[in-house]
Symmetry: C2
Subunit: 104 residues, 2 copies
């Protein structure tokens, strides 16, 4: 038990992003958004097997992590990937996975 450092903000950010992706519903949401630019809550709730209220919760989780954003377009709500943050996230994961080029 010597000196212990805490986590870097980058580690925390990466963990936050990973956690946000850590559920099949949220993966499905992301893939849907990636495949068609943007789409509506209603569209998703027709495809993703979960109650609307639950879908809202998952969308919120992704929004809080900064991965997506929603804009109100009455009477519906349109969700899109936050491209800037998405690219950032992609780079962080890429960096993590490319650290494995060592030893052999």
């Amino acid at each position: 038990m010597t000196v212990k450092k805490s986590y870097t903000s980058e580690q925390k950010r990466l963990a936050r992003l990973a956690k946000a992706l850590g559920h099949p519903v949220r993966i499905a949401i992301i893939e849907m958004l990636l495949s068609q630019s943007c789409c509506y809550h209603g569209d998703m709730s027709e495809v993703i097997p979960v109650a609307k209220s639950t879908l809202s919760q998952h969308l919120n989780e992704l929004k809080d992590a900064g991965i997506i954003q929603g804009t109100i377009t009455p009477p519906t709500v349109k969700y899109c990937i936050n491209r800037e943050h998405w690219a950032e996230a992609g780079e962080m994961f890429e960096k993590l996975f490319n650290k494995n080029v060592r030893y052999e």
Copy 2:
């Protein structure tokens, strides 16, 4: 409410992997293992600010997800990245993030 499909096994796998990475302690573990090939539980518990028993739980989480593997080398236990699964995971994430090349 029309027909709803469930999740593909790929979506579930990706979510599983993401979830395993979704905690700062586990990110720290992974980075440590990536930077020095393998290392011992004891080494990690000196650097990562968490009780040994908690560390074991996190290691187990990563092991269950197939990301790392541990071998007993009395009196210690040596942990390594499972390179095969790690590469696989990297490809899955890369594929996900590269889907964003659209619209503009």
